[in-house]
Symmetry: C2
Subunit: 158 residues, 2 copies
Amino acid sequence: MAAQSHYEELARQLSAIGAVKRGLGRILPAECPAGSAAVLTLLGRHGEMRMSRLAELLDVDMSVTSRHVAHVAARGWIERDPDPLDKRSRILRLTPAGHTMLDELGRRTADMFAHTLRDWTDDEVGQLNAMLARLRESFDCRTTAPAINPRTPAAQLT
Amino acid sequence: MAAQSHYEELARQLSAIGAVKRGLGRILPAECPAGSAAVLTLLGRHGEMRMSRLAELLDVDMSVTSRHVAHVAARGWIERDPDPLDKRSRILRLTPAGHTMLDELGRRTADMFAHTLRDWTDDEVGQLNAMLARLRESFDCRTTAPAINPRTPAAQLT
DNA sequence: TATTGTTATACTCTATAACTATA
DNA sequence: TATAGTTATAGAGTATAACAATA
């Protein structure tokens, strides 16, 4: 349990971190906005999956996911095959072009951070990543308070 | 200098932290969206200032600042007095109603974090704040690379 | 009936450009 | 001419609600 001033400061920092996110967005290819990049990144990291699973990982509504996915599918970066086990669902999978774009995103990201974070050690970046991951986890009521707000059955928890 | 995988992970974390920001936005009063809250917070923390200074602290274009400021002024939370030294400028200042709203924002923020971060120590929250502040500073070319991209004279640096 | 996914609509935040008023 | 600030417009991201197809 931390002091109130620490909490207010955290709220301010989270608000201000938007400038960093916008800076990251500006280095993306014109056809690939942040939402598309997130879709490609998660499919590259976790492999093929259904819409509902992707929406869970993106932590946005499925309607939002649907739009992002339509955008990347229209550019040929992913395929959407019908799920043979459930005809309502579609299986999402990166295409070779999608892998190429994902590589390009990784390159641009690394180039930018290598410059802006040139005085950070490898370990410091790792610590920041770990704290951000923990922050997200603490905020996610699917994992922190299932007994109080059981929106999701335990079997679906990641 | 950190490994590329660390940089890609940081990009992913920053993208995903949006969910936390949205969660924070949901606890705000209906009349006071995130942009308004940021204006009130910065005026409370730094005291009265001009539009251009506020835009710098918010790290957004002055046109965006102008809209946020118009919103909070319309609700009586700030005053905009003409600057006697420069009639183009306006001095922004919290009103008593603005202080009241700011207190309410602090209360709601603290309540939420006290719950979601109940297993974080005071020191851990402080460390996260410090790393986020450093991240923002590293990203801000006004402070990191004035020799390469001297958009702002040194005298204006905060 | 419940669930998966799509689409229509609306709202917030942002940047660019055109504009007014003042320096 | 240059600067402080406003407004119009456009684009990205998001959520809610209504809908279609399938379980």
